[in-house]
């Protein structure tokens, strides 16, 4: 256990050495910390209305002003970050685990199973994500869980395909043949030898995927199909701000800026992670 922890700290150190990676780490860290401690950070209840103070500009009392119902925008942005991560992390993690498992089965298993899984992946992929989401939301109604499930289902094929391709490449590699000739069972080959070769690529993919998912959640909320109002979400903020852009620009800034920052942060982190997790590129210790 102590060994894997030191490996993790090595990876973090490696990311921090790279300027872009450090920036990503700081942005992502800030977002995560804000989301975790959101309840203590927010100065006002993000859903408490105060019609008297509606559509105010930034001031000491309201850092980012208020919206059309007099709700504090800063509080809504912070809580919106929590919602965004609540959707993005489980969706991406779930998609990665399921995609990895199915992809490895497809890559290592018999041909018919591979064909079947590929057919399934392609079928899911053939639906545009937003259309698929619209259909599901229309059926079961908007909620946080629906968004998570929809996002997860639509991104499984991406992970599955990458895992499958990696497995196929590895399967014919000499070192896997060497392991087989040393009497390793199928589970041992997949778990001990192939997984560490695949997980790095998928982790990078996941880090890069998180902003996409955040944007997707924002997009669905923008369309009114994401999380239900009055729950604050960056997408919902954008939507309100868009309608009221002539009255106050601060809502659009409050909704848009965190999406941009989150996207940049996770992308930087992902890029930097990719260079660090590859042991061939890892610097001599």
């Amino acid at each position: 256990m102590s060994k894997s922890r030191s490996e993790l700290s090595q990876i973090i150190h490696g990311v921090a050495r790279d300027p872009l990676g450090l920036m990503g780490l700081i942005i992502v860290g800030t977002i995560v910390v804000c989301a975790i401690f959101a309840v203590w950070i927010v100065p006002y209840d993000p859903i408490a209305m105060n019609i008297k103070d509606r559509l105010q500009g930034p001031s000491m009392t309201h850092l980012l002003g208020t919206d059309q119902l007099g709700r504090d925008t800063f509080s809504r942005v912070v809580m919106g970050g929590q919602v965004a991560l609540k959707v993005a992390l489980p969706a991406v993690f779930g998609a990665m685990v399921i995609g990895l498992t199915l992809g490895m089965i497809a890559g290592y298993g018999p041909k018919w199973l591979d064909n079947l899984l590929m057919l399934l992946f392609d079928t899911i992929r053939s639906f545009p994500t937003v259309m698929f989401a619209l259909a599901v939301v229309a059926l079961v109604g908007p909620s946080l869980q629906t968004v998570v499930v929809v996002v997860m289902a639509t991104s499984i094929p991406t992970y599955g395909r990458v895992a499958r391709t990696q497995t196929l490449t590895l399967r014919n590699s000499e070192f896997i043949l060497a392991e087989r000739s040393m009497g390793a069972s199928m589970l041992r080959i997949l778990g001990v030898h192939m997984l560490p070769n695949i997980i790095g690529v998928l982790a990078v993919l996941a880090a890069m995927d998180i902003p996409t998912v955040i944007a997707l959640e924002a997009g669905l909320s923008f369309l009114g199909l994401g999380v239900k109002p009055p729950t604050p979400s960056w997408g919902a903020l954008l939507k309100d701000g868009y309608a009221l852009i002539r009255q106050t620009p601060w809502l659009v800034v409050g909704g848009g800026l965190p999406i941009i920052l989150a996207t940049l942060g996770f992308t930087f982190l992902g890029e930097s992670l990719r260079d660090v997790v590859d042991p061939k590129l890892r610097k001599q210790r």
Binding site: A178, E179, S181, M182, A184, N197, Q284
Partner: protein
């Protein structure tokens, strides 16, 4: 006479291809005794690799075992269940592959890989690690404990091949298959690896099936030699007999072509003219006939059987029959 460890008994293996059945191995018979080093020589495509994968039963899906047996300690490996076969691999039979740059998992440290291949042992992790370090020491890797934490790309090719040998010998196998272990290395390292193998063989008393197309290495290392051509054994016998008194024209020409045997300086190295016959569409008679300068009328008609010439020397050529009968 020592106990026989591995017997290849009239083994014939086909590959099913779009062009028809490719007869990769035909009627292969030879054996390896306990603690003996047997060399297999032959040019590329003569079936050496098919032979190894048949012994380990790690064959391509289009492989068909047409006839014959592979007996290891008396039991036919071709009949064994997948489970029992897996127990044998890496425990009783180990293998060292040709390209040391490809045989290690690139993302796991050498120590982790060496611990992992001891998965059958009940020993604790630290015991396994110390055994791994001991094995690295035995193959001449300096400072083995520290080296265990390093990754394959931090080792040179020669070191990686020695690590591969250490891993193969970890379970103290009865049979070590070495599939051209020095082909991917340069000449200096080749000598090193061969000397190391000789030393280790005396230490571990395992039999070695050494595959190579380098005659010098075979002559240096092996007790007995099996010469293969186009999927068949053409000659086999004690290493001295084969090199000093070759009885098959192919063996003779092979030795003539070895750069180590060439006395005169020449611009062009000698070669054997002609090509290996198409194994999917075999001509009748002797397979070497087209390239043989001593072919007899009989060679076009019948396949020469592998005949015992003297004690421990067999060859498949009608010329020898002529001598016997004449």
């Amino acid at each position: 006479m020592t106990e026989t460890l591995l017997e290849i008994d009239h083994l014939s293996v086909d590959y099913e291809t779009a062009r028809g059945n490719l007869q990769a191995l035909r009627d292969i018979t030879f054996n390896v005794k306990k603690g003996e080093i047997v060399g297999i020589v032959g040019e590329s495509g003569c079936g050496k690799s098919t032979l190894i994968s048949s012994i380990l039963r790690l064959t391509a899906p289009n492989t068909r075992f047409r006839q014959g047996e592979v007996r290891f300690k008396g039991s036919n490996l071709l009949q064994l269940s997948e489970r029992n076969m897996r127990d044998l691999r890496g425990d009783d039979i180990s293998i060292v592959f040709q390209d040391p740059m490809q045989t290690h998992n690139p993302v796991l440290s050498i120590g982790r890989q060496m611990v992992d291949i001891q998965h059958r042992s009940k020993a604790s992790k630290s015991e396994k690690l110390s055994k791994a370090a001991h094995m690295l020491g035995a193959v001449g890797i300096p400072d083995p404990e520290a080296r265990l934490t390093q990754f394959p790309h931090e080792f040179s090719g020669g070191m990686r091949q020695r690590i591969a040998i250490a891993m193969a010998l970890m379970s103290e196998p009865d049979l070590l298959i070495a599939d051209e272990p020095t082909t991917a290395l340069d000449a200096t390292l080749e000598v090193q690896i061969i000397e190391r193998l000789q030393k280790l063989q005396q230490e571990f008393h395992c039999a070695i099936l050494f595959i190579s197309h380098h005659l010098g290495v075979i002559a240096e290392l092996c007790d007995r030699v099996v010469v293969m051509y186009a999927g068949a054994v053409v000659e086999s016998g004690d290493v001295r007999e084969i090199f000093h008194n070759p009885k098959h024209p192919y063996t003779r020409r092979l030795i003539d072509c070895d750069p180590g045997h060439i006395k005169e300086r020449a611009r062009v190295l000698p070669t054997i003219p002609g090509e290996v016959p198409d194994l999917a569409n075999l001509p009748g008679g002797c397979i070497f006939r087209d390239r043989c300068d001593q072919a007899l009328p009989q060679c076009a008609v019948d396949v020469p059987p592998l005949e015992q010439l003297t004690e421990g020397h067999q060859a498949a050529c009608w010329l020898n029959q002529e001598e016997v009968h004449a």
